[in-house]
């Protein structure tokens, strides 16, 4: 980095646990780490030689960048409690779903610095492979977070609030929903005292195919063949699980419809 930025990290959860050490590593000065929990703040701050904070009224007033890495529904509340800044300072959040304008009331340049990935503390993630979706209406801020993001990741894209929300929605499908579907697969077998490990090889090839081919083009199964007799047999096996039955029916219908239409 040509310039070293001083950063106040607001949040010490899953995203922060990955981003904060990575920012330190590329030469940012992490001044302090805020969390409602002083224990969490201390734990992360100690890793990057920063001060821990749990009182927003006491946070540093002179950092270059305020980086908000907290749950969507808490952003507004935290922003309202921040001190007054000068217009040489900048503020960004890391949310996939919250508009950048939630930061407008700070009256300083604001933007978004969103890593499109599902982060969990303690799980290793190669940030260079994580796409960063960034945005600001302020040119200088956009340039600054662009320089930082490109040092962290190979993929950096400027996208509007609306575009980011669409990426976030698609990610909910491919991450949250596929995970739940896999959970149902496990439960079907566990509930019948069968071995879910048997599914691992087919899960692995499924994902290799999704990653290397066009998922829509490689669809297989009873739904695309409109094999109603087999679908009835399957549904009989889960007739007491109303959510699973609904999921089976609507995804099968959607598979059939989307291939019929082509």
């Amino acid at each position: 980095m040509s310039k070293s930025y001083s950063i106040t990290a607001i949040g010490a959860g899953n995203i922060a646990s990955h981003l904060v050490p990575a920012l330190k590593e590329i030469g940012c000065d992490i001044v302090e780490v805020y969390s409602r929990s002083i224990y969490k703040a201390r734990s992360l701050a100690s890793k990057v030689n920063a001060k821990p904070r749990s009182d927003l009224s006491k946070i540093n007033k002179e950092s270059d960048i305020y980086l908000i890495m907290i749950a969507d529904d808490a952003i507004k509340e935290v922003v309202d409690k921040l001190p007054q800044f000068s217009d040489q300072q900048m503020i960004v959040h890391t949310s996939g779903a919250t508009p950048s304008t939630v930061l407008k009331s700070t009256q300083i340049p604001y933007g978004v610095f969103y890593p499109l990935q599902s982060f969990k503390k303690g799980q290793e993630i190669n940030l260079s492979q994580v796409p960063f979706l960034i945005f600001s209406e302020d040119e200088k801020l956009l340039r600054t977070i662009g320089v930082i993001a490109r040092q962290l990741s190979q993929t950096v894209k400027v996208v509007t609030d609306q575009e980011r929300l669409l990426y976030h929605l698609a990610a909910v499908f491919v991450n949250n929903f596929t995970n739940h579907i896999a959970c149902i697969g496990d439960n079907i077998l566990n509930n019948n005292k069968l071995d879910p490990q048997i599914l691992k090889p087919i899960i692995e090839t499924t994902f290799n195919k999704i990653l290397t081919q066009d998922a829509c083009a490689i669809q297989t199964g009873p739904a695309i063949r409109n094999d109603v007799a087999l679908q009835k047999k399957h549904l009989k096996l889960i007739e007491n699980e109303t959510d699973w039955t609904s999921i089976y029916k609507i995804i099968s219908k959607s598979i059939y419809n989307s291939n019929k239409e082509e």
Copy 2:
């Protein structure tokens, strides 16, 4: 193999394209390959030095094993057209969903030899990693296909028709359904002229987590947090796609319900 079995392969489609050459390789004698299409029969037969057939009345009457690898809804019809056999012969099919008893009318020992995997012609698959679910009420037949399966794969399990159908149902969830969900993710982005490649890293980590952890235990996202405001924003983006909207709602409900209950 202690004994070399002569096999009539009935079917020259996706499963047969993988199984037949593998059986040849472990020392089975593939006598002939039947397909309704003589071109398909020829293509596969030529690879294993077998005779191609497209007329069921002309198939070999003295093979040790008749191996049926065709679509579920065609099995009954083909079985009805087979010649009379002696009770020293054996017949098995490779279906995940069809009861073994569909073969009963042949009046010879019958069973199931089901590789739990999604096969496509021309796609490389390491059979040793594919679980084989086998079954027969005939002890000698079960022993025979057990010996053969264990030469092809590291994982061989004897399961009843009902258990096999449950494995097949779970596989429909983790293969067919996850693939369709990934297709929807692609379409959400394509329809809005955004780049689906951006999703690849999160798909990859999602699947690595599913393969190495307990999918039910690692669920994340707006549904499990019951973040209704965000769900409404997402649904607004796909309000014209009724199937996707239904899928979003029912999977979110199922995620919420299954975590609430615990």
